[in-house]
């Protein structure tokens, strides 16, 4: 389990359910490390201002993370966390390693217009 207030996804079924039942979803898949913790913090901070987006976290080391790991957009990723943005169940953006708040906001505004 990750030590974050962002709602966590456990299984591949959980991931599929969230991305099919919600129009805009951001999932950050990582560990409790220095490259990942800032991204969870950014998500917590942005939750209110992007209320039309569902924010979720997932531990990279559980079997349920295989769904994110197998996404083609993540195939070249070699840095944690893997952060994937879904619109209507489709991947619209994916980033690897630490991101700044400005980088996250840019994607949220571009891909998930309110």
């Amino acid at each position: 389990m990750l030590d974050t207030n962002i709602k966590q996804l456990e299984t591949e079924e959980d991931v599929k359910k969230v991305i099919t039942e919600n129009e805009n979803v951001m999932i950050c898949c990582g560990r409790m490390g220095p490259m990942c913790i800032p991204v969870y913090g950014i998500m917590e901070e942005l939750k209110k201002s992007f209320s039309h987006v569902k924010f979720h976290a997932q531990s990279f080391d559980i079997p349920g993370a295989m769904f994110i790991k197998k996404i083609p957009e993540c195939s070249s990723f070699r840095g944690l966390p893997f952060t994937v943005y879904f619109k209507n169940g489709e991947v619209v953006a994916a980033t690897t390693s630490i991101q700044t708040k400005e980088q996250v906001i840019e994607i949220l505004e571009q891909k998930f217009k309110a």
């Binding site: 901070e45 070699r78 840095g79």
Partner: protein, 305 residues
């Protein structure tokens, strides 16, 4: 209005927080972009007094934070954008929020340097990393480079041998800054090779790192080397961008403090840890300076009453 805001949550900032909290000053810590600071990317800290066995940097900083929380220290996951001196206070601007404080301790530490070569940004997270603890496992049975000659580079190289089939340390000078004990560990590891004095000129690859072009800094020979990962450990620069117009800073960006104290050029502002230490850059030194900053600040607030 706050009594004291502490910018930064590494060893210096959290020590200042513990001391000011125990003095009843109810400090607010702005934990910054990477809570816990640089130490959190260290797999094992073996030279911090009181820990007979090595402790991970993440675990050590979690303990610092828990100790601070026990004394009532409050945290906000924010970083300072700007500070303005008003008539009776300092106004701390965090972008989305402004807070007034009687005094400020700057303990923002330093940030890891990057290679500064044009092909680097494209490969960050796609073969280039600054955190061997975080990303080492992506390089099982691969050849990786570690760039640097300090303790962090030696430790990263040894750690990466748990995953990679070969680790090559690339360093620009013909001598190493690392401590003898860390150099010895690396030299005794049969998976580690050395390229000294070489620098990376270009990173090769399509979507992920596939190799590098290296140049010998003495002979100017150039060679190509295949590798899948590059771990950068070439030191840090002080994080003083938000304070450069507020307090005096030296030509390398370090905040200048009065000798033997943590007082900066601006009354009510104190600095401690790597943000004002161009020489030692050690957690144990940062802790000592964090304590000094708290005591200097206490005296300042008593005088101002």
């Amino acid at each position: 209005m706050e009594n004291v805001i502490i910018a930064g949550s590494g060893p210096a900032g959290l020590t200042a927080a513990i001391y000011t909290a125990r003095s009843g000053l109810k400090p607010l810590v702005l934990s910054g972009f990477i809570p816990g600071g640089q130490l959190t990317v260290s797999e094992a800290v073996a030279n911090y007094p009181g820990f007979f066995e090595p402790i991970s940097g993440q675990e050590l900083m979690t303990r610092f934070r828990k100790q601070a929380e026990r004394f009532g220290v409050r945290f906000k996951a924010k970083a300072i954008k700007n500070v303005t001196k008003t008539e009776n206070a300092l106004e701390v601007d965090m972008g989305s929020e402004k807070i007034e404080t009687k005094a400020l301790i700057i303990a923002t530490g330093a940030q890891a340097r990057r290679l500064q070569i044009p092909s680097e940004p494209k490969f960050y997270g796609r073969g280039i990393s600054g955190c061997a603890v975080c990303d080492g496992s992506f390089f099982c049975d691969k050849h990786v480079l570690v760039i640097g000659g300090g303790d962090k580079a030696m430790q990263d190289a040894v750690l990466l041998t748990k995953f990679a089939n070969k680790v090559t340390i690339v360093h620009r000078r013909d001598y190493l800054r690392a401590s003898a004990i860390e150099i010895e560990k690396a030299k005794n590891n049969s998976k580690i090779e050395w390229l000294i004095p070489w620098i990376v000129q270009k990173i090769l690859g399509k979507d992920t790192v596939a190799g590098v072009i290296l140049k010998n800094t003495e002979t100017e020979d150039v060679r190509e080397l295949n590798c899948e990962g590059i771990f950068v450990a070439i030191g840090h620069d002080p994080k003083t961008e938000a304070f450069k117009d507020l307090v005096k800073i030296d030509e390398n960006g370090f905040i200048l403090v009065e000798p033997g104290s943590t007082r900066t050029s601006m009354s009510g502002i104190f600095a401690c840890g790597d943000v004002c230490d161009p020489v030692y850059k050690q957690a144990a030194v940062a802790v000592g300076q964090g304590c000094m900053a708290a005591l200097d600040l206490e005296k300042y607030l008593q005088k101002e009453k």
